[in-house]
Symmetry: D2
Subunit: 245 residues, 4 copies
């Protein structure tokens, strides 16, 4: 059983009537709900306004994959909690960063670059996410591309480190492209960034988007985690014994 926690700053859904109509209980509720519909996944939620942002050490210790949605309140996320999440990724927890989470503290911390910088605009235009690697597990069940009738536009140059795997590149009518689905290993954990999900569109109800996020949860999940040792260590014993006499 894969234990997912969906974290959301949960701001837009409370203050913007337009967003509230789409996600009355918050985006995290919708994401947790479609994930939990899978037999191999359980999904809890956590939000910024909870004690320790809902990410106590206990919650994180019992989370296999953390999903992150944040936008205008990144700066209110406590540095201590960011470090706690970081340490869990180092230890093997998966992390899926959605949409404006590209500018979150945790994503910037893990990438080591200015990932908050990119082109963007809201003009209600459609987006088409082309699959770049049909052999990648995150693309399972997806055809040539995913088409969304309306999404916020993000465009390159996106100053991420070279993705370990590049799964999607987006096309938008306004003339931009964007690396919209990217994988990295960081420490013992696996990280996926996925661009769609602006709060004013019903993106997380889209069947293909749900499929990608579900695939990503399974990809990021590590059933077996070995923690390598480090420090001052003696030479490995008996190395000469194996040599033929």
């Amino acid at each position: 059983m894969i234990r997912v926690t969906v974290w959301n700053e949960f701001g837009h859904e409370r203050k913007d009537p337009e967003v509230k109509k789409i996600y009355p209980d918050g985006m995290h509720a919708v994401i947790a709900s479609f994930l939990a519909a899978n037999e191999d996944i359980t999904a809890g939620t956590a939000t910024l306004d909870q004690v320790e942002h809902g990410l106590t050490q206990e919650v994180l210790d019992n989370t296999d994959v953390l999903i992150w949605w944040g936008h205008y309140m990144h700066r209110f996320v406590s540095d201590e909690i960011v470090e706690r999440v970081y340490n869990r990724v180092m230890q093997g927890m998966g992390l899926i960063v959605l949409h404006s989470g590209h500018a979150s503290k945790i994503f910037r911390r893990l990438m080591g670059t200015d990932t908050h910088k990119l082109r963007w605009r809201e003009d209600g235009s459609m987006a088409r996410l082309w699959v770049m690697d049909h052999a990648h597990p995150i693309a399972d069940g997806i055809g040539e591309y995913i088409e969304l009738p309306a999404e916020e536009v993000y465009g390159e140059y996106f100053p991420i480190p070279k993705p370990d795997d590049l799964v999607f590149v987006s096309w938008v009518p306004g003339g931009e492209v964007f690396r919209s689905g990217c994988c990295w290993h960081r420490g013992l954990g696996r990280v996926f960034y996925f661009q769609p999900g602006h709060e004013t569109y019903p993106t997380y109800y889209d069947a293909n988007i749900q499929r990608v996020i579900t695939n990503a949860v399974r990809w990021a999940y590590r059933p077996v985690i070995y923690k390598p040792i480090s420090g001052h260590l003696e030479p490995l014993k008996d190395i000469s014994l194996g040599t033929k006499k």
Copy 2:
């Protein structure tokens, strides 16, 4: 259920008494046997001397992951069968190439470089395969490294294309290192090269080696395969409809 076919040129085991003692029914029998002990895997075998080398179109069409062991008879593998295997990899079949299979026609065809060239010697020395990426599914259940009491030595420079993932690097007492576990996507298929398995050592009875090959089968298996289209294609319809009025 993952359908594996283990292919072996099956020469050493018949003509070298030393090898026959270790693998009386051939290495393919041992490999198929430990794989089939898993509930999610079925494993058949095929050998060079069979009609069409045991790799008829029907066999390949019903193979999800093909394992390849060959050594001194690479040149007797028919070009037509190589092309058939190649086409199945392009369509999504997984391929695991073992040991001296680095010089096989199919591996050279898929890599596009002179992968038959490398340093080697048989001095019975031990080998230690260090894990380079503990977050990789092929390393699941493996500790810092795998130690084999005796293996053939392979050493760099190994002129492979840059691996998509580098899972193992080997250390040998004689002074060499070797990229001994490497992954690539090729077309819709996934390819893993794994160095251990010289015919004169009981390598394929080693629990860690069996674990890696089993992990690799699961990694290479693709339950869902979408075949992208190509050719002369009209612009995608309705691309303007999504743009905000």
Copy 3:
């Protein structure tokens, strides 16, 4: 001094009046000319109809970087010459494959996949090549993107191996994206694929396109080439001497 040879099948320019008007002496002449305008580059040419396609062993032995343009006559390129070019790439010669050269024998041989498959159409639409890696030497002197008023459309899925470096991704108005500038190391050689250059457009007169090809020549050029040894080799001597007593 970097010694470039520009190879062209030189067919369209002779038989299509429209193409002849743009490239009266062939595309190879234009490419060799803008390259040779650089103080550090000399550029010769070779064409399909010459003896040994103009690629004698002597010519190749004196070529640091080979540029390849071919389209409808790939099948008339002799397998022997392809193997000669392949061997030179293995030995360290650079190779720049342009436009429809994605379907050439030499590119398919080096990639090991069905790179002839992709979406395409000629509708005279513009193309915008976005820079994906501003720190890459091939992007030197290029801004956010290169815009071409008219080019043939190529679209994903392009079944290339994962590029070692992804330098450009193209956007076209018809709704497609394409990985239009990709680097790989193959053996001791460096390979760059660059998508623009349909024969019916004056693409190779474009200052940015010339800049990219010139950058690519400098990137692919290897002033110093060490050829590693391989084969049956004894353990490296004196390895124990360095160990502290």
Copy 4:
């Protein structure tokens, strides 16, 4: 002319007589000296005890490639200066991190992982650095491997992000391997980590080590830097104009 600044915490050379004997003026002096012997390179130095650690904004603005050596005083490097260096890397300055610099604040900041963790010991054993990519510019002029008579041992697992390019892997008699030469692009800058250089050995006098560092300086240097824009941006103009009527 490539402007290099060699930064050194400059502690061991002052307090340890053994180190002082090898590097009487500090390692930075030796490194700057062999670099400045090249016609295309000028090299200055900076140390921890200088005002702003010698890394004023003006110094950094006039540095194309920064070299970093630190060990036991990482924690005394001011966070403000680290951020200044970080910003210059984002803007295109090259960075070469040597030896124990793997645990420096700036390297950890740029990698986004716990790069301070690895196996290590000082037993005076030799080290052999195998070239993994003979086509890489940093390996120019190096043969199969570099052999050092004595170096500190570092061993995997080294929790770095997957290197964009893996240039060296080290072998040591004690049984470990280590990814000892690794490249990454970060923002507009290029970063190289190179393992050798323990203070108690005369490593930086070794001709091959000097060659690698010199190669790395040239590789990391960016003569032309384009700074991409970001933020709220309108659709690109005139995108429809190129489409055929």
